[in-house]
C-alpha cells in the first residue's frame, strides 16, 4: 500500500493541486478578532462588558475551525494522491530568484494540524472565559490569543518557507507577549524576553538552513582554481536534469527545477527522482559534510529553539509564568510542536540525509531523558508539566528523526490533547487553590474536584502509555520504529546501533514519564489538603472550565482510534493512511515479526506500570517517608537535578555575561577610540589652526608690522633732519656732494 502510493507519486510528476479560494479565511478570521480586540477592546470592554470581548475572541476562532472543517470535507472527497488544496492570495515579493507568495496550502498533514490547532484553540479560548474572568485587561488577553492562533495557522498553512517563518516568528511574538502578560512582575516580563531571545538563536540556524537549501538547489559552492570557494550556478549535470524535466528523454513533465522557497515545488523536484535533484544534493559537500546533513542540522536548530530541545530548552519552563491557558495552548499543544511539524513537512528532505535524521533523533532522545529526570523532583505543578512537555517533544523528535514521520505527527496530536488536558486541569487546581502552584501545599483535591481529578487521571494514563489511551499507540510506534531503524548516522559516521540506543534512552524516559506524572497526580489529588494558608477549601471550577476538561480528556482517549497499529488489525492505522500523501519520504526499517512487536508493546506497557506503581507507593496520600529519606541520602545529586543541572546559570555566566561584556567593550571602543580619533583629528586641526594663527600673527603679520614700524621709525628719524636751519641743510648738501665725488672716484 505504502509503496505503491509513493511509486505513483514518483511517476506522475508534480503534485496535483486543487483550488480552494477560501483557505485564507482560516488564518484571517482570528486575525480579525485580534485586530478588533487590540484596537477597540479596551473601549468595548468598558462599554459592553467582557462578554463582547470573549464573543469576538472565541467566535472568530470557532468560525475558523468551521472553515477548516469545510476544507477537510473538500479534501476528504478527493482521491488520496490529489489531496492538496491551494490558495494563492497574492505575490508578496519577487526579487531576483526569490519569489514568495502569500499562499496557503493544505495537504493531509497541514490539514491535521489546522484542525487540531483551531479545535484545541477554540476549547482553550472557552476555558479562558472562566479562568481569566477577574482579569482587568481581559481584552488584551484575547487579542494576544487570537493573534497567536493567526500566527500558528500561518505557520501550518503557509505554502513556503517565508510564510512558515512568518508564523514561526509570530507565535514567538505572541509567546513573548503572553508570558509577559502580567508585565508588572519583572520576573514574568524577563521570562518573556528570555523566550523570545532563545527562540531567535534557533531562528538564526533555521534561516541559514533555508538560505543554504535555496542556493544549493540552483548551484554549488566549488573550489575555484585560485583556491577560493565560489558559488557556481547550475552546472552541466544540472542542465541535463533540466532537459530531462522538460520532457526530453525520460524526464518528468512540468516539474519546476531550481531555487525555490515553495514547499510544493521543493517536494516535486526532490520526490520525482527523475529530475536528478535528490542525487545532486546528496553528492554536494559543504565544510566537508554532505550539504543535506548541514541543511538538516541547521533547520533543526530552529526546531530546537521553538520546540525547546537541548540545549535551547531553557525558556520553556520559565514560560510557565504566563497564564495557564497560555501554557496549555502555546507551550504544550501547539506552538512548541512547530519544530516537529517542520521536520515532518520536510520529511522528503530529512530522509535524504542519515546524518540529519540521526541528529534529530539523538537530540530528541537526549532531551526526552534529560527533561524527564528534571521532572522527577519539581514541586511546582506547572513546572512538572513543562518538563514533561520538553520530554514529550523529545519523543516526537525521535519519531520524525528515525523516519517514522506519521508516528511523530501522531504523537504530536495525542500530546496536544492529553497535555492540554493536564495543563487545564492544573489551571483548574491552581484557580481552586487561590493561585498556589506548589504541590506540597495541595493534596486531597480529588474529593472536592472530581471532574478535574478524573480528567487529570485519564490524561495521566494517556501520557504514561497505557493501552486504550492514545499516548500508548503513538509512543509505542515511535519507539518501535526507533528500534528497527538501522541506517542512522552521527555527523556523517554510520552508527547501526544508534536506533537501538535511542530506543533504550526512550524506554528509560518513558518509565520516568509515568513516574513523575503519577507522582504529580498523587501529590495533588490524594491524601489530605495541605494548603492551610486559606480558610476556604478548594471547590470545583465553573462549567466553562470543566466542560472543556471533559471534551479534551475525551479527545485524549478517542485519538487512540486513529492510531491502532497494523499488528492488531491487519491494516495500516487510519492516521498513517491519511497522512501518506503528505509523507512521500522513503525510509527503510528492519523487518521484524509481529511477535517481536507485541513483545515491545508489552515492554512499553510494563515500564508504564512500573512508573505508576512506584509513584503510587511513594506518593499516594503523602504517607510514605521514603521520598524524604532518599532525598536526604542523595542530597547533592538531588540539588543538581532540582536546579535543572545549572544550565541557566551556565548560560548566564558565559553567553549572557560574555555578550554584555563584549557590548560594553564595543561601546567603549566606539566612544574612546573611534570617536577619540575623530576628536583628535579635530584637536589636531585646531592646534594647526592655532599654530597657523600664531604664524599669521607673529611672522606674517609681524613682517607687515615690521615694515610699517620700520617706515615709521625711519620717518621719525628723518623728521629730525627737518630742523629748518639753513646751516644744517648746507652741511647736508656739502656732505652729499663729497659722497658723490668720492663714490664716483671709487667706482671708476
Amino acid at each position: 500500500m505504502e509503496h505503491t502510493l509513493q511509486a505513483a507519486a514518483h511517476a506522475t510528476g508534480p503534485l496535483p493541486t486543487h483550488a480552494a479560494g477560501y483557505l485564507w479565511l482560516i488564518p484571517f478570521l482570528p486575525l480579525v478578532g485580534a485586530v478588533i480586540n487590540a484596537t477597540m477592546g479596551a473601549r468595548l470592554q468598558r462599554r459592553f462588558g467582557k462578554g463582547l470581548v470573549h464573543v469576538i475572541g472565541v467566535g472568530t476562532v470557532a468560525l475558523s475551525f468551521v472553515v477548516a472543517c469545510i476544507a477537510f470535507v473538500q479534501m476528504w472527497g478527493l482521491p488520496p494522491e490529489h489531496r492538496f488544496l491551494q490558495n494563492t492570495v497574492w505575490n508578496a515579493f519577487t526579487a531576483g530568484k526569490v519569489s514568495v507568495d502569500l499562499g496557503f496550502a493544505l495537504d493531509p498533514l497541514s490539514m491535521m494540524m489546522a484542525l487540531a490547532v483551531t479545535f484545541i484553540s477554540a476549547l482553550i479560548h472557552v476555558f479562558s472565559i472562566g479562568y481569566m474572568a477577574d482579569e482587568p485587561s481581559y481584552w488584551r488577553f484575547f487579542a494576544y490569543m487570537n493573534l497567536f492562533v493567526f500566527s500558528m495557522l500561518l505557520l501550518v498553512m503557509g505554502d513556503n518557507f517565508v510564510l512558515m517563518f512568518f508564523g514561526w516568528e509570530g507565535v514567538g511574538l505572541c509567546s513573548y507577549l503572553l508570558i509577559a502578560f502580567w508585565y508588572t512582575d519583572p520576573q514574568k516580563a524577563a521570562a518573556g524576553m528570555k523566550a523570545f531571545i532563545t527562540n531567535r538563536f534557533g531562528d538564526f540556524g533555521f534561516v541559514v538552513g533555508v538560505f543554504l537549501l535555496f542556493w544549493a538547489l540552483g548551484g554549488a559552492w566549488q573550489q575555484a582554481p585560485d583556491g577560493k570557494t565560489k558559488y557556481v550556478e547550475t552546472d552541466a549535470h544540472a542542465a541535463a536534469y533540466v532537459a530531462a524535466a522538460r520532457g526530453e528523454g525520460q524526464g518528468v513533465p512540468h516539474v519546476e527545477i531550481g531555487p525555490t522557497l515553495n514547499f510544493r515545488l521543493l517536494r516535486d523536484q526532490i520526490v520525482n527522482t527523475d529530475t536528478g535533484v535528490a542525487e545532486k544534493l546528496k553528492a554536494q559537500k559543504m565544510f566537508g559534510f554532505g550539504i543535506l546533513g548541514v541543511i538538516g542540522i541547521l533547520l533543526f536548530v530552529g526546531a530546537m529553539g521553538k520546540s525547546a530541545q537541548l540545549p535551547l530548552h531553557v525558556w520553556l519552563p520559565d514560560a510557565m509564568a504566563g497564564p495557564t491557558p497560555v501554557s496549555a495552548l502555546i507551550h504544550a499543544a501547539t506552538m512548541v510542536t512547530a519544530g516537529v511539524y517542520m521536520v515532518a513537512r520536510l520529511n522528503f528532505l530529512f530522509a535524504l540525509s542519515a546524518t540529519a535524521m540521526g541528529w534529530v533523533a539523538l537530540i530528541g532522545a537526549l532531551t526526552a531523558l534529560f527533561a524527564a529526570s528534571i521532572g522527577f523532583f519539581q514541586y511546582d505543578i506547572k513546572k512538572v508539566l513543562a518538563y514533561s512537555t520538553v520530554s514529550q517533544l523529545g519523543f516526537m523528535f525521535i519519531g520524525v528523526g528515525v523516519g517514522a514521520y506519521w508516528a511523530g505527527a501522531y504523537h504530536l496530536l495525542t500530546h496536544a490533547f492529553f497535555k492540554a488536558t493536564l495543563f487545564l486541569c492544573s489551571g483548574s487546581v491552581i484557580l481552586a487553590c487561590h493561585h498556589e502552584q506548589d504541590m506540597r501545599k495541595m493534596g486531597g483535591l480529588g474529593k472536592p474536584m472530581p471532574i478535574t481529578r478524573w480528567t487529570y487521571l485519564v490524561a495521566c494514563f494517556a501520557i504514561a502509555g497505557f493501552p486504550w489511551a492514545s499516548g500508548f499507540y503513538s509512543k509505542d510506534e515511535i519507539l518501535w520504529k526507533a528500534f528497527t531503524q538501522e541506517g542512522l548516522k552521527f555527523l556523517g559516521m554510520p552508527m547501526p546501533y544508534l536506533g537501538q540506543l535511542i530506543y533504550l534512552i526512550g524506554i528509560v524516559a518513558a518509565t520516568g514519564t509515568s513516574f513523575y506524572m503519577f507522582r504529580s497526580y498523587y501529590m495533588t489529588f490524594s491524601g489530605e489538603y495541605r494548603g492551610h494558608g486559606h480558610r476556604h477549601l478548594p471547590k470545583e471550577s465553573p462549567l466553562s472550565i470543566t466542560l472543556v476538561l471533559v471534551a479534551l480528556a475525551t479527545g485524549a482517549v478517542l485519538a487512540a482510534v486513529i492510531g491502532i497499529p497494523y499488528a492488531w488489525t491487519g491494516h495500516a492505522p487510519l492516521l498513517e493512511h491519511w497522512l501518506e500523501p503528505a509523507l512521500p519520504a522513503i525510509v527503510h526499517f528492519a523487518e521484524k515479526s509481529h511477535a517481536t512487536e507485541y513483545l515491545f508493546q508489552l515492554i512499553g506497557v510494563s515500564v508504564g506500570v512500573i512508573g505508576w506503581v512506584a509513584a503510587r507507593a511513594l506518593y499516594k496520600d503523602g504517607r510514605s517517608q521514603v521520598p524524604a529519606r532518599l532525598l536526604l541520602r542523595w542530597k547533592r545529586a538531588w540539588t543538581v537535578v532540582y536546579n535543572k543541572y545549572y544550565v541557566d546559570e551556565i548560560y548566564q555566566a558565559t553567553i549572557l555575561r560574555g555578550s554584555v561584556g563584549f557590548a560594553r567593550l564595543c561601546s567603549w571602543f566606539d566612544k574612546y577610540i573611534i570617536d577619540g580619533l575623530v576628536n583628535l583629528a579635530g584637536a589636531i586641526a585646531r592646534v594647526a589652526a592655532e599654530l597657523d594663527g600664531a604664524i599669521d600673527r607673529y611672522i606674517v603679520d609681524g613682517a607687515v608690522n615690521l615694515v610699517a614700524g620700520a617706515t615709521l621709525a625711519a620717518g621719525r628719524g628723518l623728521r629730525r633732519l627737518q630742523t629748518g636751519r639753513i646751516q644744517t641743510y648746507l652741511y647736508g648738501a656739502l656732505a652729499g656732494a663729497i659722497a658723490i665725488v668720492f663714490l664716483n672716484f671709487l667706482l671708476k
Partner: protein, 549 residues
C-alpha cells in the same frame, strides 16, 4: 500646471517657494507690525502647505512612473551653464523614485511633528510649548515654539536640497543640491538642538564637508576623463560632460577604467575610493559613523526623523548612482571590502546598541546597524541582494523615523532619555507602549512588517556570494532582538516609577505621525511588492553589467 515634465521640479522647488513666502511674511511684519504669534502661525502653515505640496508632487511622480519601462522617466532637461556643459537635468529611475516618495513623505511627517498644534494643555505645558518667560536648561522651550519662521525656512530649504539630490541627474546639479542640504541641517541642530548642540552641529558639518570635498575632487576627475556627450539643445558638449546618464553609458563602455593613472594608481580606483568615502560618511559606515549618535542625540525630533529617514539614504543612493554605473570595474574590485564594512556595521553597531543607556543613542546606533544591511546587500551584486538593499533603505526610512518620534514622545514629557530611569511606563502610557512595541518589533525584523523583508532579501541575496559574511550578519537577528527587548523591559515593564504616574498618553500631534508610518510598515510587510515591483527593473539593469548572476 503640473505635468509629467515638471513634476519633479515642482516637488523640489515647492519648499523653496514656501521659504520665499515666509521671508516675505517676515518683511511684511516689519511694515504692518502684526504680532509675533501670528507670524509664527503663518510660517507654520506655509511650511506645512509647501511641504505638503511637495509630498503631493512626489506621490504624483510615483503614480506617473511606469515601472514596466526601464530607464529614466519624468525627465526635465535644459542647458543651464553652457560654457561649462552644466545642465539642469532631473529625472527618476526605479532607484530614485522610491527615494523621492520617501523624501516627500518623511519631510511632511517632520513638518507635522514640528507643529505644537493638536496637543492637550497638560502636554503642551510639560513639553515646554507654553510661553513661561524663560528658556534655560531646567525649563527648556520646545523647539516648535522657538524662532519659528527661521526653523520653517531651514526645514524647507533642507527639503529642497534632499529632493533635488534624489532627482538630479547632472553631476554639478547633484553637488549643488548636496551642499544645499548641509547648511540648514547645521543650523537646525545648532540652534534648535539639545545641550551639546554646538559640538554636534560642528561635528556633523565638518564631517560631511570632508566627504563633500572628496566627492568634489572625484567629480572633477570624472568630468575631465569623460568624453563629449549631447546637450539638451542637441549640440555636443565641449569635450566633457556632467550628464550622469551619459556618464553611466561611458562607464559601462570602460571609459574610466582606461583613464590615465593618478600618481601611479588606477584612476577608477582612486575615484571610487574618494566617492565611496564621501558617501560612506553619510551612510554612516564604520569607522566614519560617530557623528551620527551625537547629531541625533542633540537634534530636535523632526530633524532626527529627517536625518535617519532620508539623509542616511543619500550615502547608498550616491554609491548606486555614481560608483556602480560609472566605475563598474572598481566596484567589483572593492566589493568584498564594502561587504566587510557592511558586516562590521551590522554586528558591531548592534553590540554597541546593547550597551546604550540613552534611548535616542540606542536608536541612532541601530540605524548604523541597519544601514549595514544595505551595504552588504549591494556589495553582493545579485539581483536579490541589491533589491533587498534598496528596499532596506525604504523600510528603514519608514521605521527609523517612527523610532525617533517615539524617543521624542518620552523626551517631550520627561526631558530625559535614560532608559534605566524609566520603568513600568506601559501602565501609565499604554498606547505609547503599544506603538513602541510595534516600532521596535518592526525594526528587529519581525515578519509582517517591512524590516523583515528587507533583511531577508539582503541575507538571501548575499548568501551565495559572501557565505561567511552573511552568516555573521545573520547573528544580528539575535543581538537586535536582545537590545530592543531589553530596552522595552527596562523602560516599559516592571513596577511603575511613580514619577511618571500622571504622564499624559499620546496626543494627536504624535498619533498623526506615528499611526500612518506604522500602517505603512505593516502594509509593506504583507505586500512589499508594491515598492519592490517599482525598484526591481532598474536594479536588475544596474547589476546585470556587474556580476554575471
Amino acid at each position: 500646471m503640473i505635468s509629467q515634465q515638471n513634476v519633479l521640479s515642482w516637488a523640489t522647488f515647492f519648499p523653496l517657494i514656501g521659504l520665499a513666502v515666509i521671508l516675505i511674511l517676515m518683511a511684511t511684519r516689519y511694515f504692518l507690525g502684526f504680532s509675533r504669534r501670528a507670524l509664527d502661525e503663518l510660517a507654520r502653515s506655509t511650511g506645512l502647505i509647501a511641504s505638503g505640496l511637495s509630498f503631493f508632487c512626489s506621490v504624483l511622480a510615483w503614480v506617473w512612473f511606469d515601472p514596466s519601462q526601464s530607464g529614466v522617466q519624468l525627465v526635465q532637461h535644459f542647458t543651464w551653464i553652457k560654457g561649462f556643459n552644466i545642465e539642469y537635468l532631473v529625472g527618476v529611475d526605479g532607484l530614485s523614485i522610491s527615494m523621492v516618495l520617501l523624501t516627500g513623505l518623511i519631510s511632511f511627517v517632520a513638518f507635522v511633528a514640528s507643529m505644537p498644534w493638536w496637543s492637550s494643555a497638560k502636554y503642551a505645558r510639560m513639553a515646554g510649548m507654553v510661553e513661561h518667560g524663560h528658556d534655560d536648561g531646567h525649563h527648556p522651550q520646545h523647539f516648535s515654539v522657538r524662532m519659528v519662521p527661521g526653523y520653517m525656512c531651514m526645514l524647507l530649504l533642507l527639503q529642497t536640497g534632499m529632493m533635488g539630490t534624489f532627482v538630479a541627474l547632472d553631476m554639478f546639479l547633484f553637488y549643488v543640491f548636496w551642499e544645499v542640504m548641509l547648511l540648514p541641517m547645521y543650523f537646525l541642530i545648532g540652534i534648535w538642538g539639545g545641550p551639546r548642540k554646538e559640538y554636534a552641529a560642528i561635528k556633523f558639518f565638518l564631517y560631511t564637508l570632508v566627504g563633500s570635498v572628496l566627492m568634489l575632487l572625484a567629480i572633477i576627475g570624472i568630468y575631465y576623463n569623460s568624453h563629449a556627450a549631447p546637450l539638451a539643445d542637441g549640440s555636443m558638449s565641449a569635450g566633457h560632460t556632467f550628464n550622469l546618464i551619459e556618464l553611466a553609458k561611458q562607464g559601462q563602455e570602460g571609459v574610466f577604467a582606461g583613464s590615465p593613472a593618478v600618481l601611479g594608481f588606477a584612476f577608477s580606483k582612486i575615484a571610487f575610493i574618494a566617492l565611496f568615502i564621501g558617501f560612506a560618511i553619510k551612510i554612516p559606515m564604520f569607522p566614519f559613523h560617530t557623528w551620527l549618535p551625537d547629531a541625533h542625540v542633540e537634534a530636535p525630533t523632526p530633524v532626527s526623523v529627517i536625518l535617519a529617514g532620508i539623509l542616511l539614504k543619500m550615502g547608498p543612493y550616491g554609491i548606486l548612482r555614481f560608483n556602480y554605473p560609472l566605475l563598474p570595474d572598481a566596484t567589483q574590485w572593492a566589493a568584498w571590502v564594502v561587504a566587510l564594512f557592511g558586516v562590521i556595521n551590522i554586528v558591531y553597531a548592534a553590540f554597541v546598541c546593547l550597551a546604550q543607556s540613552d534611548l535616542k543613542k540606542l536608536i541612532a546606533y541601530s540605524s548604523v546597524s541597519h544601514m549595514g544591511f544595505t551595504l552588504l546587500g549591494m556589495s553582493a551584486m545579485t539581483p536579490t541582494g541589491i533589491s533587498g538593499a534598496v528596499f532596506n533603505m525604504f523600510s528603514h526610512g519608514i521605521i527609523s523615523p517612527m523610532l525617533f518620534l517615539i524617543a521624542g514622545v518620552i523626551y517631550d514629557r520627561a526631558h530625559h532619555r535614560e532608559i534605566g530611569r524609566f520603568g513600568g511606563l506601559a501602565q501609565a502610557l499604554p498606547e505609547y507602549a503599544g506603538i513602541t512595541g510595534l516600532a521596535f518589533f518592526a525594526s528587529l525584523g519581525l515578519p509582517g512588517m517591512c524590516g523583515f523583508v528587507s533583511e531577508f532579501l539582503v541575507l538571501v541575496g548575499s548568501f551565495p556570494v559572501f557565505l561567511g559574511f552573511t552568516i555573521i550578519s545573520a547573528t544580528a537577528v539575535i543581538i537586535t532582538a536582545a537590545y530592543y527587548l531589553w530596552a522595552i523591559h527596562r523602560a516599559f515593564l516592571g513596577k511603575l516609577n511613580p514619577v511618571y504616574k500622571d504622564y499624559p498618553d499620546l496626543v494627536w500631534r504624535e498619533r498623526l505621525v506615528l499611526y500612518p508610518l506604522g500602517a505603512i510598515a505593516i502594509v509593506l510587510g504583507f505586500y512589499p511588492q508594491a515598492v519592490l515591483g517599482v525598484i526591481n527593473p532598474a536594479l536588475t539593469l544596474l547589476v546585470s553589467g556587474l556580476r554575471p548572476m
